[in-house]
């Protein structure tokens, strides 16, 4: 599974990455993490607001912090 966190390196984005890692560990799936901070690369996705979570190139959430349950549900749905 390919997971990308989009964000300019702010506290919220780091929290989202940490939460996602915890969710990944909890359900025990294989995943690669990439924290994208380059604003041009971020803008290539169909989002305006950060932080954003992208799983297998599919934007799951942007502009707000999802709960761990939401993240877990997205991870399981892949």
């Amino acid at each position: 599974m390919d997971i990308k966190i989009l964000g300019s390196g702010c506290a919220k984005c780091k929290r989202l990455e940490q939460l996602t890692k915890e969710a990944v560990d909890a359900i025990g799936v294989e995943a690669t993490f990439d924290h994208v901070t380059d604003i041009n690369k971020i803008m290539a996705y169909p989002i305006v607001a950060t932080p954003a979570l992208v799983i297998n190139e599919d934007v799951k959430v942007a502009g707000r912090m999802p709960s761990k349950e939401e993240i877990t549900a997205w991870l399981k749905a892949v």
Partner: protein, 480 residues
């Protein structure tokens, strides 16, 4: 040696009057509002009005709204600015968004209101709204041709939920708490009940405090009261408990979370009491303000229980993050301002910016452009200049230019929109800030409000009319 001591004393005086007087009823609720805006208001609720197809009359006000509601922290400013510019409503609204954000977010506005007075806060809000939209429109016009090449990415702006009703009610309660705690209205300040507490030591403590932190009304030093000392102590306790209680709240509520929230509520109510020292002890006065603050605090509990636990955790976590990010810099800034104040002669300030001339306003702008201060520190600096005899006009010019034009914001903008546009923007901000100062200065100098309003409205009408006309012509002749 003497001068070092006096300077340090001045720094401590500035810091203690800041902590005891300005922070509590203004900045504490403001931080909680900023946290709520960041955690409970989905960015999409405003961003959806900023899509590529949004008409101008929707996009510009929405950009200003995004600036004041979503952009409390600079890390949201950059992606939103880039997003609006490259995918959405374009250069104009993006500029409006960026111009408006630092002057009109809840922290800057409420702090300006308490430290400098409500008229400065209102002037700052109105002038930056009008000029933010004006500068945005001018930029959109000047760079009309290059602005048409944008990614067509309407999907990013579509959908998304609005702001829920319970969030609006919750924000409303917090705003009443902030306003009720700070406004100087009669029904809030009239004493309802006074109790005398005989406490002989209080007199001695107050005398000692007066020596340590002298009251100097000419310089604007308010001294430090017994109540102030207790409040500073309580702030210290809050910091200790909140470090873990709020900083780790995302792992779940702990006992420390409730202890720190309880302490914050108690501190706010205590700060809303009037406490004066007389010959025999303390006189404690209950006023409308105390009741409003207590009632609003009490209402927050049932209101917050209607949210999901996760949302409340997010709210507290965001609030604490803002405090951790902004507060330490602010404390250092306020102390430094107090020290520096000792070395600036009022005559210098009055000679350069003591009257509302074009040169004085330009001096305010130039100082704002070349000095960089962290978020909110521009306010104590402005207060220092005001007490040193700076005219309110140049002061507003400085307050407009300083947060708009930091080196950091110029760099971010030029990375996204290119050097030419970024420097055009800098030039426009400088001109418009000077103009804002002149307008406000003319008003405080006694030019009747109708004359100022008329001049202001006429200027805006001419500006917008000219822009509209040029826009029409450019659309009519795209081949050029």
């Amino acid at each position: 040696m003497d001068i070092v001591l006096t300077a340090l004393q001045s720094g401590i005086a500035s810091l203690s009057s800041y902590l005891a007087a300005h922070v509590l009823l203004c900045l504490v609720p403001a931080f909680f509002i900023a946290g709520a805006l960041s955690a409970l208001v989905p960015q999409q609720s405003i961003v959806r009005f900023l899509g590529p197809a949004a008409p101008k009359w929707v996009a510009y006000p929405a950009a200003a709204g995004a600036g004041s509601l979503l952009a409390v922290c600079s890390c949201t400013v950059q992606p939103l600015f880039a997003g609006i510019y490259s995918k959405g409503a374009g250069l104009g609204p993006a500029i409006t968004f960026m111009f408006f954000a630092p002057a009109a977010n809840i922290l800057a506005l409420s702090y300006t209101g308490v430290a400098l007075g409500a008229d400065f806060a209102i002037a700052r809000l109105v002038l930056s709204l009008v000029f933010g939209i004006g500068i945005g429109m001018i930029m959109a016009l000047i760079f009309h041709r290059s602005d048409t090449v944008r990614l067509d990415n309407a999907a990013a702006f579509e959908g998304g939920e609005g702001i829920s009703r319970q969030t609006l009610i919750f924000l409303g309660a917090l705003i009443v708490l902030l306003v009720g705690g700070t406004l100087k209205l009669d029904f809030l300040t009239t004493p309802l009940l006074s109790v005398e507490l005989p406490w002989a030591a209080a007199v001695a403590i107050q005398n000692a405090l007066n020596v340590l932190v002298p009251i100097d009304l000419i310089k604007g030093d308010e001294g430090l009261s017994v109540q102030g000392v207790i409040l500073i102590g309580m702030l210290g306790l809050i910091a200790l408990t909140a470090w873990r209680g709020l900083g780790k709240v995302d792992d779940g509520f702990t006992r420390l979370t409730f202890v720190s929230l309880g302490l914050i509520a108690a501190t706010l109510i205590f700060a809303a009491l009037g406490i004066v020292t007389n010959d025999t002890g303390l006189v404690v006065t209950l006023s409308g303000r105390t009741l409003v603050v207590a009632a609003m605090l009490a209402s927050l509990w049932p209101l917050s229980s209607r949210f999901e636990v996760w949302d409340i955790q997010q709210w507290l976590w965001e609030t604490w993050r803002f405090v951790k990010m902004i507060f330490p810099l602010l404390i250092v800034g306020v102390f430094a301002v107090g020290v520096i104040r000792m070395f600036i002669r009022p005559e210098w300030v009055q000679a350069i910016a003591g009257s509302n001339s074009v040169l004085a306003n330009m001096a305010g702008v130039v100082f704002g452009v070349f000095m960089y201060f962290p978020t909110l520190v521009e306010v104590p600096i402005a207060k220092m200049f005001l007490s040193l005899g700076m005219h309110p006009g140049p002061l507003i010019a400085y307050l407009m230019a300083d947060p708009e034009l930091s080196l950091q914001s110029i760099l971010i903008t030029s990375a996204i929109i290119g050097k030419l546009k970024a420097w055009t923007y800098v030039g426009l901000v400088a001109v418009f800030s000077t103009l804002a100062g002149l307008t406000y200065g003319a008003w405080t100098d006694g030019t009747s409000i109708s004359t100022v309003a008329l001049g202001f409205v006429a200027f805006i009408a001419v500006l917008f009319g000219a822009l509209h006309y040029m826009d029409k012509r450019q659309h009519a002749a795209p081949a050029l």
